[in-house]
């Protein structure tokens, strides 16, 4: 295995926030939950993510409030450490205070109680353990042995109750969760058949007794007593929160329609807030037992992602299956779901063994103005419909344009848009019925009031073989469609079959054109070989024996990533089609086959990488493992920058942070700095001015660097323009910088400063782009002083004063910041 010291695979963005039960702080103002390798602190009132607590190197597997200091939280992780965090005092203290090394096999939720008890053969699910009455009582359940173990730390005994383990009943009455009454000797257990049993009187050896209540029709997933013990909350697949009166179990209240099946229930220590985490990676905050007050939605991890992973060019959001019948747009930068698009537009019935329409394919065109989706239901015969959605600038969302029912006779195996930049795009759908069809937008007669709609333009086949996949070349001039062992290359302009390529044995599983300088190469993967054809000579350039499960080209570079299935793990190779040696290879990336991955373009190219991670400069590679975890690669400089950033984000989002002596001490110091900043500009002030309606704006608005870069782009100082143009020329010689997609900036720019025309914006965009790299170049090469002076022509010469304030050990990252601050007032002055 090749060791790459500078890159590692991390959970970053879209990780499961419902992996473990969240924690509500003592004052019920914050909600702390695990999120991959970091811990997130949300405000329970505004749903805003306030802090990322970063420091664990592996998946965080447990969270618990420090019982002796309710402003601290313990966390444990698969990296074998337990860390203690201070979550309220802002970023200055959010580093691990305690680091305890444990054997790396710690998978169990750890409770810090000052006791040492070792339980053996405990199920690894933390739902199977509960503590009651301080440390007096523990209850554990074993779902396999159908028994409940109860132990008493004070009296030191341990009792085990068992239910019947034989017969048909036993299969259904397995324990699923357990909760202890906070005051009484009562243990509540949930069962697979939907019953809740309340165990009492277990302090005698055999005289224990239980009563049963039954409302849920399928297994009880979560149980929780309120802090006073007056109510018992339960939840399950029905997505209804049931509230039982303790002592009068006949009376119950319901909170229905919570969206999806409940996984965990947590109650705040004062009992005013309930919090349910759901299987669709959502946390619902419920106020006063009755009202849903906040919903924190993460990336929905369904049973399986049927569509390919895509990146929406407008919002830079990841697009994939979300809720059943929906596509979700998920911003990886903000780590927040932007919106859900209802594709199927039918009600989802939560019942097993029911065939319902599912979104199986989706494709976005290169500008993000068209979305094509395929939904399918295979009840008795396959029902397919192809839908095309146009992006509506006004509502900033996709609107259904054309529905084609039964576009093919068989299941559609792939759809793709041609990348041609002209107004008319072509959609190609490939089906197992032996045909591929090209669909085109037809403009109706101007006399009709009808809108433009899509219709079939061409139907192609090849010796009535089954096509599997299709791919357009980067400029859209060639279309490759694979029919079993044969790759056919077509011209989309005339629909002529140009050539066929074949490299038996083995049917082609995946196709991909090279990009940029390698655009003459066509890559094809069979289940045994990876072949590379040169389209100029129409001959095989090279081939190698690899079991490729996914072939993916980076749209911004020549790099191609190939995921290869080894025995039970997946290896990754990144290479250029023109070069025989891979740039990067990592073996045993993850277990299981990787079939979904995407190159997400970075907002700014990454610098300072080592050679082996050069391929990550322009794009970031995200991939889904077979158990639906979204993973990515993180380079070392990036990691350091993020660490620094997490310490940088000022706690201005929620000003009502609890006052601790530490906070006051630090606060005094910071206040002084903030006063200085306020004079220059208030970051939060700018943020408040932003219109909240547009998703794109929102997405950009949160991300600090984006704001900076956009703001930079809006200062039309002529002096700079000239100098930058020179830089631009020199940059273009390198030819490695591809033109960046421009919609985003034009959108946001229009919103920020409506006076500017589109052309100006485009210009400014280029300026901004280069301006940034130019500054960076200067910063790194250190003759900083002169240039900044030249640039900053405003009378605010206080720029210099914040400089010594940079306390972080990375001055390189910090230095661009003061420049941002100087530019901001300029925006404000120019706009009016």
């Amino acid at each position: 295995m090749v060791a790459h010291a500078d890159t590692r695979v991390v959970h970053r963005g879209g990780s499961k926030i419902n992996f473990r039960a969240p924690v509500i702080t003592q004052d019920s103002r914050f909600l702390i939950c695990v999120s991959g390798e970091c811990i997130k602190v949300f405000s329970t009132s505004t749903e805003e993510c306030i802090h990322h607590l970063q420091g664990h190197k592996e998946l965080v597997t447990g969270l618990v409030l420090n019982p002796s200091n309710h402003l601290q939280v313990f966390s444990c992780s698969e990296d074998g450490t337990i860390r203690l965090w201070d979550f309220t005092d802002g970023p200055f203290a959010t580093f691990g205070l305690v680091s305890l090394n444990l054997p790396p096999s710690v998978e169990q939720h750890v409770m810090v109680k000052g006791h040492t008890i070792v339980f053996q053969s405990v199920s690894t699910d933390p739902k199977c353990i509960a503590f009651g009455q301080g440390v007096r009582m523990h209850a554990l359940t074993h779902s396999l042995t159908h028994s409940l173990t109860h132990s008493h730390t004070v009296f030191g005994w341990c009792t085990m109750f068992a239910l019947g383990t034989s017969g048909e009943m036993a299969a259904r009455n397995a324990f699923t969760c357990v909760a202890c009454h906070p005051k009484d000797d009562c243990i509540a257990t949930g069962h697979g058949d939907g019953k809740i049993r309340l165990w009492r009187n277990f302090n005698q050896e055999k005289e224990y007794t239980f009563s049963t209540v039954h409302w849920h029709h399928s297994g009880v997933n979560a149980l929780c007593f309120t802090p006073e013990g007056t109510n018992l909350l339960s939840g399950g697949l029905e997505s209804v929160l049931v509230q039982w009166r303790y002592g009068q179990e006949g009376q119950k209240d319901f909170l229905p329609r919570l969206g999806s099946s409940i996984k965990e229930i947590v109650v705040s220590p004062d009992g005013s807030l309930f919090c349910t985490s759901h299987t669709d990676n959502k946390i619902t905050v419920i106020k006063n037992c009755t009202k849903v007050s906040a919903v924190i939605q993460g990336l929905v991890h369904g049973d399986g992602v049927k569509t390919a992973l895509m990146v929406d060019p407008r919002t830079k959001a990841l697009v994939l299956n979300g809720k059943p019948g929906h596509l979700q747009f998920y911003s990886l930068q903000r780590d927040q779901q932007l919106y859900n698009l209802d594709i199927v537009q039918q009600e989802y019935i939560n019942q097993s063994n029911l065939d319902q329409f599912e979104v199986v394919k989706a494709a976005l065109d290169s500008r993000g103005s068209w979305l094509a989706t395929v939904e399918q239901r295979s009840a008795k015969e396959v029902e397919i419909s192809l839908k095309l959605w146009a992006f509506d600038e006004h509502t900033q969302s996709f609107v259904l344009n054309t529905t084609i029912s039964a576009p093919h006779d068989g299941p559609i195996s792939e759809i793709c848009f041609s990348p041609s930049s002209q107004n008319s795009t072509t959609l190609v759908s490939v089906s197992l019925d032996g045909h591929f069809k090209a669909w085109q937008l037809t403009q109706p007669d101007p006399s009709d009031d009808e809108e433009a709609s899509w219709s079939c333009d061409f139907v192609g086949d090849y010796h009535s073989l089954e096509p599997k996949c299709c791919c357009f070349s980067a400029d859209g001039s060639l279309l490759a469609v694979s029919f079993k062992e044969v790759v056919t290359v077509w011209s989309p302009a005339s629909w002529d079959l140009l050539t066929t390529l074949s490299q038996p044995p083995g049917a082609i599983q995946d196709l991909c054109f090279g990009r940029l300088s390698c655009s003459k190469y066509l890559l094809g993967a069979t289940d045994k070989n990876l072949c590379c054809w040169n389209l100029l000579t129409c001959s095989l350039e090279w081939s190698t024996a690899l079991d490729v499960s996914l072939l993916l080209a980076d749209p911004l570079s020549e790099n191609v990533a190939a995921f290869c299935g080894a025995e039970k793990t997946t290896d990754l190779f990144v290479f250029r089609p023109s070069e025989p040696r891979p740039h990067f290879s990592q073996q045993a990336l993850c277990t299981g086959r990787v079939t979904r991955a995407v190159f997400a373009p970075r907002d700014e190219p990454l610098d300072g990488c080592e050679e082996s991670s050069q391929w990550l400069n322009r794009s970031q590679l995200y991939f889904l493992t077979h158990n639906m975890e979204l993973l990515t690669f993180l380079t070392k400089p990036e990691e350091e920058r993020l660490m620094a950033l997490s310490k940088q984000v000022a706690p201005t989002i929620d000003d009502s942070v609890a006052m601790t002596p530490f906070y006051l001490l630090l606060g005094k110091h910071r206040k002084r700095q903030e006063e200085e900043r306020d004079i220059l500009s208030s970051q939060s002030g700018v943020r408040n001015l932003l219109p909240q309606g547009s998703v794109a704006i929102k997405e950009v608005g949160d991300h600090g660097d984006d704001v900076h870069s956009i703001l930079l782009s809006e200062q039309p100082t002529e002096v700079e323009m000239e100098s930058e143009k020179e830089e631009e020329d020199s940059e273009e010689e390198g030819a490695s910088v591809p033109p960046r997609p421009e919609h985003e900036s034009s959108d946001t720019g229009a919103k920020l400063g409506p006076v500017l025309t589109k052309a100006e914006h485009r210009e400014l965009r280029g300026v901004k782009k280069l301006d940034y790299s130019w500054i960076r170049g200067l910063v790194t090469s250190n003759p900083v002083v002169n240039t900044t002076k030249q640039m900053v022509k405003t009378p605010k010469q206080r720029v210099k004063t914040p400089k010594p304030m940079a306390k972080t050990p990375k001055p390189m990252v910090k230095t661009p910041k003061p420049m941002v601050k100087t530019t901001k007032p300029m925006v404000e002055t120019t706009n009016p």
Binding site: R200, N203, K206, E207, T209
Partner: protein, 650 residues
Amino acid sequence: MGEFKVHRVRFFDYMPSAISAMAFNVHTERLAVARADGTVEIYNFADNCFQEKVIPGKDGRTVEALCWAGQRLFSTGLNGEIVEYDLENLRSKYTVEAYGGPVWTISSNSQGTQLAVGCEDGTVKIFELVEDSIQFQSNFDRLKSRVLSLSWHPSGTQIAAGTMDMIRVFNVTTGHATQRMMVDRAAGANKKKEVAVWSVVFLSDNTVISGDSAGKVQVWDSQMGTLIRTHLVTKWDVMALAVSRDESSLLAGTSEGSVVQFQFISARLDQPDKEWQRTRTLRSHSHDVRALVHTDTAAVSGGNDAHLVVRPFMEKVVKGSKESAPCKITFPHRSLVSCGKKAGILLFQFPERLEVWRLGESNENGEELSVTKKPEALIHLKRKGDDHICCSTLSPCGGWLAYASASSVRLFQLQYDNDSIALTKVEMGPLHVLLWFVFFVPHYLPSPSPPPPEVSKQAVHLMSTSDDGQWLATANSDCEVHVYNLKKLKYHCTVPVYGSCPSAMAIHPTGSNVVMVHADQKIFEYSLEQKEYTEWSRSLAKKGLHGSWLNRVAPVTHVSFSASNPDYIILHDMNMFCIIDKSLPLPEKDSDLVGAETQLISNSSVFPSVFKNLLCVGLMEDHSLVVVERPLLDIATRLPAPVRQKKFAT
């Protein structure tokens, strides 16, 4: 083992009668069960819940309540009489008119000296128990409405009485009411309907617990007259309450057919305060639970669906033992069917009539035969008089039929030529011995001279004759088996007394051995000629029976033999029948018994899955097997509709 042609008889439409009252005698461990037709059955809980005695009912007598006072059993009914039963002769001893209209309830104090009855006219009357009779003692203050339930305080100084809308507490010595506790009516539309307090329980800590028609179980403080706690158990009625002897557990039976358990437990280990917590819900009935008994180890319930259900509390019994098996008694532990072996006819006994049927015939061979000649009802014979038929029999030749009630025995001669049937009554002299009959009537046991001196006074519940008419064996509820020589009309011998009551008995047709199966499932074979247990019986006793045979709940109710193979013994109980081959070696005690063809004792076949709910299995002369079944589903469909319950997703 051979193949049998099996007559699967399902045309015996036997209907068990609903259970209306129960009383448990803790000291003798006898449970008295009263049914709606006036029958009173005595079950011996010390002997595997065996139905020891049956006191047949009488037209016009219903039993609303039962109570034990020491060894004496009393009942009351809506005819306004108090009945004491003669448990030796299995009939009513005397009746006393209460003069208060229909009597709803009867209760004796814990000392067994006084009886309290609650009458329709609102009076509570106290009767004193005297030798062989009871004597009216006093009337309490008259209440405005009928007294539905009564409960003595364990000290015997106070009585709680449940009436409509109210619970009253009386001082026994003065006869005055000391407390009045008003019971809330049901909410909503039933607000105007009075609440009937169907059951009260007076505990020794002066707590009164009531169950009422609004579905509540309420806990009261009788000294202050205040309500402590209400448990809403059902939408319908709570018909019965029963408390354990140590007063830590309470059962409430509802009209939904469920039995709810409450336990007196403390909320926390270190707190002494205890309260009644609802714990388990047992669902063993489809209809109203009318009567409940809380024994030390089990909940015994009976109701309108006529099942007597014994549900042990798992924490009180050893797991896997015989006590831990739940038990549902539907059919009587005695035979209601007799076979005319030679003639191929069956006699069915109902409380008020007898039916004689001829079996159907079939000419086919194979797995399932279609009936070419349908079974035919030959005779419907209605009894005379008020007393219910308690036993009946048919001679093997099919020519004689006899039945007995509490007051008389009748003998008939049957004659049939093809279609016409003639039934003639035969007058019996007092010592007219009917050799081929098996009579279950103790009073008419032909008393040979002289009877053995030590014979007990208990009624005979089993009789068996040998086919040649030489031997007669009788068994009584003191577990004694006596053998008489009928040819000499002399007492022959007594089988050594075993501790469990014989549940089935038969004399072998050739070997003059008597085979007895006891209520605890033990099997013995006794040679009448040698007057000792046979070799096979000894080896069986030595080896011990298999655990899964011993843990069966239902007692064997019939023993018969195969004429073709003298080694075969055919046994059956309610759930299965099996054939034992004595010639085969005995299985190991702890070997696994798997499958239908299991080896229980010796090489025996058990058919539990094929035949269910058996009333009789008999072998006819032509080697065909008659299996009389009464499916429980058929019984359930003939019951009135149960109260409506909301089911999930309806």
